[in-house]
Each structure stands twice: as C-alpha cells, then as structure tokens.
C-alpha cells in the first residue's frame, strides 16, 4: 500500500520529505498555538472544558462543551456558573456560586481561609486586586461543595479557572470517548498524520 508513496519520496528527494513532514508538524503546531492563544486571550488556563458529571442538571448535562473566560477584574456574583480547580485535585469542577465575600486589597485573605496548607505568603500576589471568598454548589446536588474543597473553607479567585459564558450540547462526547478509549485518540492522530504526509499542496 505504501510502495507508491515510498517510491515517490525517493524520487522527489530529501527536501520534499522535509516539506511533507513540515506540513504535518505545522498542523499540530497551529493547533497548539490556537489553544494557547485562546488561553491567553481569555486569561483562563483551560478556556474550553467538557462537563463530566450530572451535578449541574438541568442546566448542563454530561458531554456538554463549556466556554470560559476569566478576566482579571471580574468580581464573581451569586448565580455565576464557574469552573474551579482545587490544588491537589486533577479534575476541574463546574458548579454555581452560592455565596461571595469581597475582600479588599488591604486585608490579608489568609486570615479567613484557614487553609491546612502551610504555604508561604506570596509577595504581591493576593494584594494587587480585590480578592473574593466563594462558596459553590452544584444545582443537582443536595449539599454545597465544602466536602470537595479538601480542607479549604472558601474558594479564592486564584482557584477559579473561569466563568461559563456559553455552551454547546453533546459536542463534548468526542473528548469523553477519546479519554475512555485511548485507541481512538491514536487512530485519529495517526489518520490525520497519514493524510498530511501523503497529500501535496
């Protein structure tokens, strides 16, 4: 099946092979850069996430794709749907904000967080902007998220990945399928690579 292509490569020379591989590599590179660019523009570490659990039904179902932004001047309000990540937990969680307390710049927020971690004070990090203490709860859950906070009493702004601005239903199932069946991921990547290597502009 590949003899035709291999013969063509040998005929066309080394530079041609480099060009074809460049085709493939630049597709991947542009994908990466678009992702990183989106992250920078939205100021969010992961601007597009997939809903994995049913804790926000009937608003969001498992498999929905969510679009997030995290502007640095944003003060979150009760009712906002946010995605947050607890340090030490791998998976971000999407729940609604129940309570907020604004902490002005002059006050050291660590007085109120009683966090079990003995992290050293980071100079200048929390004192630049107004910080907030947040409590969240999933719409479909009976209790709030204290159990999920792994020892923290409140969420701080630095834990928030972003606020949900929009969503697409069902599209996230592709990502879920690729995570549950890694073979699918490799097959897709392999197929894409083959196509890019063989196709000529």
């Amino acid at each position: 099946m590949f003899t035709e292509e291999l013969k063509a490569f040998r005929r066309l020379g080394f530079r041609h092979v480099l060009l074809q591989v460049l085709n493939f590599a630049s597709v991947i590179a542009s994908g990466l850069m678009i992702w990183k660019g989106l992250g920078i523009v939205t100021n969010s570490e992961s601007p597009i996430v997939v809903v994995l659990s049913g804790s926000m039904e009937p608003a969001f179902y498992r498999g929905d794709l969510l679009f997030l932004t995290n502007p640095s001047s944003e003060q979150y309000k009760t009712g906002d749907i946010t995605v947050y990540k607890i340090p030490g937990a791998e998976i971000p969680i999407v729940h609604r904000v129940m309570e907020t307390h604004d902490v002005p710049k002059s006050i050291d927020i660590r007085k109120y967080t009683k966090s079990k971690s003995k992290s050293k004070p980071q100079p200048g990090e929390d004192s630049k902007q107004d910080n907030q203490l947040l409590l969240t709860k999933g719409d479909n859950n009976y209790v709030d998220d204290i159990e999920l906070y792994q020892g923290l009493e409140w969420l701080e702004k630095k834990h928030i990945v972003g606020k949900v601005r929009g969503f697409l239903p069902y599209v996230g199932y592709v990502t879920i399928a690729m995570n549950d069946f890694p073979q699918l991921k490799y097959a897709l990547l392999g197929g894409l690579g083959l196509l890019a290597l063989i196709q000529r502009e």
Binding site: L12, I28, M33, K36, G39, R200
Partner: protein
C-alpha cells in the same frame, strides 16, 4: 548538435553587435554561436523512467505531476542545477515556527498558568510573525515559481545561465474544454561574473492536459519533455514567444 551549427553559420555577422551589453536599449538576443546546449540536445540514454500515474480528475495532481516532470527534466546532468532558495526559506521559516510553537506549548505545560503567561505570549507573537512572514514570502516572492536553475559552461569564456520557470493552471473559459497547463520561462545568459549580459529570453506556453495524460492518467513523459524542451530552447534563443 546539428541545430547549433546551423545557427552559428547563419548569424555570424550578428556576433559583434550583440556582445556589448552597454549600448542596448532593449533586450539583446543572445549570440547563437555562444549558445550552450539546450535541453533537447542533451539526450540521456534511455534512463529508467518511472511510470507516472495520477488521478485524471484531480487538477492539483496533474499540475504537480507536470511540475515534477519539469524539475526532473531540467535537472539532468549537463543541464541546469536547481537552486533551492525558495524551498529553503519556506522550510527554514516553517520549521522555526514549529519549534517555537513546540517550545511555547511545552513551557506552558510545565509551568503554572499565571507565571507562564508572559513567556507564552511572547512565543505566540513570535509564532504569528513567523507564519505571516512565511505566507507572505510564498505568496509574493515565490509566487508560481516551480524551478530556478543555474548553469555554468565554458566555451570561449565562462557563461552563467539562469532560468526561472513558473507554472499555473489558468481557469478555462468553456466548461467543456480541457484545462491547460501554462508555463512561463525567464532566461538570462551572462558572463564575467554576471556583469556582462549576453542574452535574455522570456517565453510562455500553454498546452491542454489531455495532450500529455491519457485516459488512465498515465503521463506521456517524452511528449511533455519535448514540449518543454522546445520552449526552453526558444527562450535560450532569445525569441519572445
């Protein structure tokens, strides 16, 4: 061989007027007696041609097959040596942008988001600049060029020739007629390290694809080479076609 002798005999009196480049108001026709070997004159003994078979319905494949045939034809020994400047610039810029992208992505993966933001932004901007540069270069500087070749021959003095070919498939006016392959050549012959211009020629030619490809998509390479060779020799003789 017969062709060059004939040309030399017929225009030996044109010799004196066309050698001095300084008094020329328009492009001089190259001196025939000086003319190095044209591609049709160089017959490489029946080398192993690989059968070229393409998908007849795919215009890109047809054009690429013709372009590759031109490159092979003109790069034979005794003929032009291909200059890879355009390809190298594209490769260089492209691979540089890939490495910048990979480095930025890797850095963003390893370092926390907040701390990595400035470096990632710089990497992103660099990537965008490189990609834009590469695209602009390919569009404006390279354009339709498919082959740039150079040759140095020594007859009475060292003659340097430079040939540039560009090809395209112009849109066909009628739906029923076959699309054609249009090629345009620019040929310059000079000596004295490029300071004295001996001759210059510009040729254009177009032929429908069905002249070189049969119903199965197999390429008739001798016919194609004969056609291209004729165009190159016309350019070498300095006649604007």
């Amino acid at each position: 061989m017969a062709r060059t002798k004939q040309a030399a005999a017929g225009s030996s009196n044109a010799n004196s007027s066309s050698v001095n480049g300084s008094q020329k108001a328009r492009s001089p026709s190259p001196d025939p007696s000086d003319r190095p070997l044209g591609p049709l004159a160089v017959t490489v003994p029946a080398y192993d041609r690989e059968v070229v078979k393409v998908n007849n319905a795919n215009l890109t494949e047809l054009k690429n097959a013709c372009d590759d045939a031109v490159k092979r034809f003109l790069s034979r020994p005794e003929l032009f040596k291909q200059i890879y400047t355009h390809t190298d610039v594209r490769l260089g810029l492209g691979w540089l942008s890939v490495f910048v992208a990979a480095g930025t992505a890797f850095y963003g993966y390893k370092i926390d988001f907040e701390q990595s933001k400035p470096v990632v932004t710089v990497g992103l901007i660099l990537y965008i600049i490189l990609t834009v540069l590469s695209t602009l270069y390919a569009y404006f500087v390279e354009g339709d060029t498919i082959f740039v070749g150079k040759r140095k021959t020594f007859s009475k003095r060292i003659i340097t020739e430079r040939i540039t070919l560009s090809s395209s498939t112009p849109p066909t006016p009628k739906v029923s007629s076959c699309p054609s392959y249009s090629v345009s050549l620019h040929y310059v012959r000079s000596t004295n390290g490029g300071k004295t211009l001996l001759g210059r020629g510009r040729t254009k030619g177009a032929a429908p694809y069905n002249k070189f490809f049969d119903a199965n998509g197999v390429m008739d390479q001798p016919a194609f080479e004969k056609w291209v060779g004729g165009l190159v020799e016309t350019a070498m003789d300095g006649k604007a076609a």
